[in-house]
Amino acid sequence: MERRKLESAALFLSLLGVLLILPPLAVVFQLERRVFGVPLEVIYLFVCWLGLIAAAFWLGRRLPREPEAEPPSEGEG
């Protein structure tokens, strides 16, 4: 992907994350149902969390690096 698209993707990922964990989306999964013995909303939150981490991992390796990002060397004294 191009630089601009990657930046947009990073922005949309953050916004998606906000939407996922806040009502009303979070409430959708409050169904008093259990998956593997665990309430569905707990599973939902952890799955969202894991998804966000994976997406951030993917993006972090692709977002553009700038050559001058390296600060001057430390420990001069």
């Binding site: 309430p39 969390w49 981490i53």
Partner: protein
Amino acid sequence: MLSPDVVIAVAIGYVGLLFLIAYVSDRQARNDKAAFLRSPFIYTLAISVYCTSWTFYGAVGSAARSGLEYLAIYLGPTLVFIGWWFVLRRLVRISHNQRITSIADLLSSRFGKSSRLAVLITIIAVIGIAPYIALQLKAVTSSLQAIAGVGEFPGRTLRGIDEVGLALAVAAGMALFTILFGTRNVDAKEQHHGVVAAIAFEAIVKLAALLAIGIFVIYAGGGLEAIFSRAEAAGIDIYSTGNFNDRWVAMNVLSAAAILCLPRQFQITVVENSNENHLRTAGWAFPAYLLLMSLFTLPIALFGLTSMPAGANPDMFVLTLPLSAGQEGLALFSFIGGFSSATSMIIVESIALSIMVSNHIVMPIVLRVTQGHGVDSARGVSRLLLNSRRFSIALILLLGFLYFYLTRDSDALAPIGLISFCGVAQFLPAIIAALFWREASLKAATAAVAVGFVVWAWSSFMPSFESSSPLVARIMAEGPWGLGWLRPEALFGVENIDPLVNVVFWSLFLNTATLVVVSLLTSQSALERVQAALFTDLFRRSTTGTPAVIRGSATLEDLYFVAQRVLGVQRAETLFGGMAGSPSPQFIDRLERELAGSIGAASAHVMLSKVVSGDAVSLEEVFEMAGETRQAIAYSQELERTSSELRSTAQKLEEANVQLRAIDTEKDEFLSQVSHEVRTPMTSIRSFSEILLEEQKLTADERRRFVRTIHQESLRLTKLLDDILGMSALDRGERGWDNVPIEAEGSIDRALEVCSALAQQRRMQLSVGSRAPSAMISGEPDRLCQVLINLISNAIKYNDADEPLVEVRSRTGRGRYTIEVQDNGPGIARAERKLIFEKFARGQSGGVTAPAGAGLGLAISRQLIERMNGRLELLPGSGRGACFRITLPLL
């Protein structure tokens, strides 16, 4: 069974281990051997200083009391780190560029290097963090009591030491430990490699401990499904009904704000960052760490609630669960994990706060009191900084202890932490504005933070003293002076609102509103504008584009003196190595940033400004650079000036055009007149010639008359053509003559003589007024006579009065000779006064029947007189008649 001595010995041993790690890491870092210390994973682990004993103990307590709510504390930071590209990256970049040392330094630097704002931020941070420190003290104290036996295991008290005494001892120990740990030296960049390494180690310890407890609980509880089922059977609401409400939103907002605004998070994430690219890893690895830390929280809480006796403190489940199962080793590990999380938080937080206190409060005071010359030895500033930091650490822990002492009746950990979160969250609007909104002004940021702080202090901080102060309790119930709408937990009369939502909403709302409104109403100083541009255009300008703010005529010696006092001899020498001559603005700028790395932007600016003279001038330069407004004003003034010039030119052009048009009309009329005048004699000459040629029967008398007429008409023609030729020749400056001394009165006499016949013909009086006896002028007698004849004959010809009169008079005086020709004719209309001297012009009014001249007379006359260095003018008169005056210089 664990004895208190063993537990304390293990704790001290653990601290010794930390100390060793820090020491070794520092040595390695100094010798550039420990590349792994600068790896992104160490960085990420250090960031997890976010997980304190609140996480370790409090999250389980929170989960036991209110279900999923605890997760919000970790989801907010997760979102901030997922979006690292937008906020964190900017913070890190700008802090590297500007050598930012703390959050107070960041805001002060952005808002015009203001010392006052830095002081305000520092004070708020110190007060706001006190509850958080108290939380750690409380957690360590409770864990010591839990593991070494009060409460559920009576009989094994810590030898008569009560809770308060224990907390004081913990606080004192922590203070000592942090002072030894964090203030061994003053680093130029406030980076503490040793501390970071120790914190990273602690992050691993606390994660391992919590995971160990989690796995133990799953094992002991018979699996997840069994734990949840048992909890549901015990009547616990495992579905967290109504959990995703406004409080959930408020907590997410708070935790997202806290990960940016907490002084220790800023210290680790931004100041200790050695490479911007580490954020790439931290962006996903820190959320992953948080996920692991909160993975088992809910099962531990539910297992604790179902297996522990009623009334057991859920905050201590991670300790009491293994203890009650007889797992003493695991319990001890868990205790070390909790101890780890508390110590790492206290170390980093108090280091960060002590840097703020010493840089923004102590240093400016010392600089002001001593005029910058009181600390003379090269090591003086360094020692002063270290001592003020040690003192600050002690003060911060003392404040934490005081808060703990005053609020010791409250039992849960999480609510205490939320008070601190809400306090530091008041920096968030200013930080966001600092990074993204160029117009945000110093006054606005100061006012906004102050407003937010007041609301927080009223609605969040003060209520925590409800149990220890009757006054606070009364205000909580009735409002101050009975003003119900000011009740801390129901501000502006909003009842039935969660206290946390109440304070989060009102403080951040009023904070942001103040920031926006005041920014719109106030203007920025020159320095503010420069800094604002640096912060908001971070990625748009090249890194070399930093404008040198301080310029002037400091000598290298002066600067070196300052540098060695702050940075030490060694670093100063490295910095000044090979420098000669006068320092360049770029060097001064670099020096300022180096100094800012040690003592903060505001202090560095003040210090260098004192040394470098000509600061005021350079601010003007800065103003020129950054002052788009001024440029715009100058430009618009220029435009205004040009356009007014244009306007006046246009007006002149228009006037000239009017004149041209008038002259043009006159010219057309004149040409038709000339044609007519030429045509009339030509016609008569032709017709008389034809008669003479064709008629044979003419008498001699008739013949002579016709020939005479032809002769007269050709004379008229010649005269007309002469006039026209003379006119154009005069125009070209030809037909010159030499002015000679003449007697002018003679010319008047001749002219009068010539004109007397014409006057007689018209039956009018030609009177001679007073005459000058004689007048010698420089001129040409025939020309002068010609002009006079022209004037007199005009006066006669155009006079239509019943008793026509023309008077000629002359006089001398003041070196001038004046001739006036006065008549009582129709006069010359005001509009024509200017025109009559123009070529081809001719008086229009007066109903003159047969104008005999070609309209060149006055124009020629004026030119002739001018050739004699004189003037011909029409006197401004009123009523009937006109008066022409010739003025000539006397010899």
